[in-house]
């Protein structure tokens, strides 16, 4: 299992596969990635004329140390947790669901449809109905990619990606067109939902959605590690060969997992429009679906770490918003996100392989 790059000099540089992925390195990877990304980001920030350390400190302080900022961080973490769980589930089985953003939108779309058509319904009816509709819509959206993937081996990455655009345009269409609020002076928003259709607040600006998100994380954990089906998912993700040997049904699980993944993202969409906006509007998601991918990767697909990573990245977002006033463009945040993912990918090789330098063997 030795892989070598033959060099002209007297050295041979090899990637040697490790017998066991190193524990310390596996834990160090997310941390190192974030640090390196902050470094790169720091350089860019410097180039823009700001002091990186001051920027970071102020972002941190605002996002986690101020009451208002902390609440914002928590609120923005909610959709990340939900969508992040969905993405993590799919990624575990090597199903590349990049369509969380679109699934969020259709989830919101479906929930809005329910909310707008039942303005008189009481909360205990409308809220579950909205959530159910949102989850089903998200699941169905993912199904559009799951079926071609399971039965044709089609590339689910591209399909889910393209569906993102379709979903966003669909929402745009409804919000500029048939569902537009007549009294909104041409703004692309629907009529406001009834107060019954709004998720109630818990603490300050943090709404009940946080309970849903944490419950979902707990449920995810319970199912993944304590249920029969969760065991199947984990086995399939680890080794398709072993799963087949043990008699597990791979195709059925592909579809099931993608549907749940979409459903969770759909739920994220529901909580957002129900709690935050109270109506469907264009661009209500600042790329949560894409950030969720980073969350899932950082968390190495573990539900507990998904929660942590969600807070981290939402803190980044909130901190970034706060810096806009000082003139720092928000795009720094998305660049940082990309950089984190970069370094994560680049450094993960060190957990699986060891770099060795050796003098060329001779006779």
């Amino acid at each position: 299992m030795l892989l070598s790059t033959r060099k002209q000099s007297g050295f041979v540089i090899r990637w040697e596969k490790r017998l066991e992925p190193s524990q310390q390195i596996t834990i160090a990877i997310p941390i190192v990635s974030i640090l390196l990304a902050l470094l790169v980001g720091g350089v860019v920030i410097l180039a823009l004329g700001f002091n990186p350390l001051a920027v970071y400190r102020s972002m941190l302080a605002h996002a986690f140390l101020s009451r208002s900022g902390l609440m914002d961080t928590a609120v923005k973490a909610i959709p990340l947790i939900l969508a992040g769980l969905g993405v993590a589930l799919a990624f575990r089985m090597l199903l590349w669901n990049i369509g969380a953003e679109g699934q969020i939108y259709v989830g919101a779309l479906a929930a809005s449809g329910v909310a707008l058509s039942l303005p008189e319904a009481p909360a205990y009816v409308i809220l579950p109905a909205m959530m159910l509709a949102g989850m089903m819509a998200g699941a169905a959206w993912a199904l559009l990619a799951a079926i071609p993937r399971a039965y044709l081996g089609a590339n689910e990455t591209i399909i889910t990606l393209l569906l993102n655009y379709v979903a966003i345009y669909w929402v745009d269409h409804l919000v500029f067109g048939p569902w537009r609020d007549p009294g909104a002076l041409g703004f692309p928003i629907t009529r406001a939902f009834s107060s019954a259709a709004r998720l109630p607040m818990l603490i300050g600006r943090i709404h009940v959605g946080i309970l849903i998100a944490l419950a979902a994380a707990l449920l995810f954990y319970a199912i993944l590690y304590h249920s029969r089906w969760g065991f199947e998912v984990r086995v399939i993700g680890e080794s398709v060969l072993a799963a087949r040997y043990a008699g597990m049904n791979i195709e059925r699980n592909i579809i099931l997992v993608l549907m749940i993944s979409g459903g969770l993202a759909g739920l994220a969409g529901v909580t957002e429009i129900s709690a935050i906006h109270g109506r469907l509007q264009t661009g209500f998601s600042p790329g949560y679906g894409y950030t969720a991918i980073i969350v899932a990767s950082l968390a190495a697909m573990h539900p507990g770490w998904v929660v942590v990573a969600s807070f981290l990245l939402s803190g980044l977002l909130v901190g970034g918003f706060s810096m806009q006033i000082a003139g720092l463009p928000l795009a720094v945040v998305s660049m940082l996100q990309g950089a984190i993912l970069f370094f994560l990918l680049g450094s993960s090789v060190f957990a699986r392989y060891r770099l060795t330098f050796r003098r060329k063997e001779g006779s």
């Binding site: 089609a154 990606l161 500029f176 970069f342 392989y353």
Partner: protein, 310 residues
């Protein structure tokens, strides 16, 4: 509707399809060598903003175009490094690049939003050829970058099928073990193809800001990079078909835009969806066909190559 409408649509198909064509050619090259590059969207954006910036500063769109290629190539180099040398997952790497490229381009493009360019690529009528009734207007009254593709497509075609290095590229993508067995440096070939692919993607992005629009807006590629990737599958990895496909896809977009003008009561957003839905359907269809017939992706696409791994 008279002929002018149709001609206008056809002409617009070409301009709309050209950025797709550049990106698709680049991706085609990379995928032929076995590397899936999902960072095309990011590379196009980086190319678009770089081209715009350099042109705004220097006043020379050609300089802009070249620097766009450099930018796209640089980002592609990162992708090559991560997925070939560092053995990272190609799907997630491409995605990371797109995210990074999107953010980065938005960042450095900020001061240029709404800034008019001192010079862009203007349409040049090809003498004689543009006099041909109908065809002349459709094909030969475009800006220079379009004409470049007229040469680029057959060039890539000749390269892949009629030169030895080109066949090596194909071999590397089909069966790297076979290529390695005869002494071809698989990793080097892949690096080169990915970087050149990125350069072309960057150029495709620059086309948007230097010829098509020409303006800089955040995220102005609007998913064209992803359509280009699907386009490669539609073209069954053949440059000539890629050209036809790019104009077809461009046509769908151009038509959609114009249907509004002629007053059909279809929501503009539904029309915007069309290229993407169309792409998905085509993708599924081609995948299905690929299983039935013997066409298909390069055998080793997306797979890593290790000489001694048994």
């Amino acid at each position: 509707m008279d002929y002018t409408f149709y001609l206008a649509v056809l002409t617009a198909s070409i301009t709309a399809g050209t950025p797709l064509l550049y990106a698709a050619l680049g991706e085609l090259l990379a995928e032929r060598s076995g590397v899936l590059n999902l960072g095309v969207e990011g590379m196009m954006l980086v190319g678009a903003v770089t081209g715009f910036m350099v042109t705004a500063v220097t006043g020379n769109p050609w300089l802009g175009a070249v620097s766009a290629m450099m930018a796209g190539g640089a980002l592609a180099f990162v992708h090559a490094f991560l997925s070939i040398t560092m053995r990272a997952n190609q799907v997630v790497t491409g995605l990371a690049l797109t995210l990074f490229g999107t953010g980065f381009s938005s960042l450095i493009g900020r001061p240029f939003i709404g800034v008019p360019l001192p010079a862009t690529f203007v349409d040049i009528s090809v003498p004689l050829l543009s006099q041909i009734p109908w065809l002349g207007q459709v094909f030969f009254m475009h800006d220079p970058l379009v004409y470049v593709t007229y040469f680029l497509v057959p060039l890539v075609w000749v390269f892949l099928y009629w030169t030895r290095p080109g066949m090596n590229v194909q071999a590397v993508g089909e069966d790297p073990a076979a290529a390695d067995a005869v002494g071809i440096n698989v990793n080097l070939v892949r690096y080169v193809c990915v970087v050149v692919g990125g350069m072309l993607a960057g150029l495709g992005g620059a086309y948007l800001t230097l010829a098509l629009a020409p303006v800089w807006l955040d995220g102005m590629t609007a998913g064209r990079g992803w359509i280009a990737i699907a386009l490669v599958i539609f073209a069954v990895w053949n440059p000539l078909r890629a050209m036809a496909g790019a104009y077809l896809f461009g046509g769908v977009a151009a038509l959609g835009f114009r249907i509004q003008i002629i007053g059909l009561p279809i929501s503009p957003f539904v029309l915007q969806m069309m290229p993407y839905i169309f792409t998905i359907i085509v993708l599924i269809f081609v995948t299905y066909q690929g299983r039935v017939k013997r066409l298909g992706a390069p055998g080793a696409l997306g797979l890593h190559f290790d000489r001694e791994e048994r």
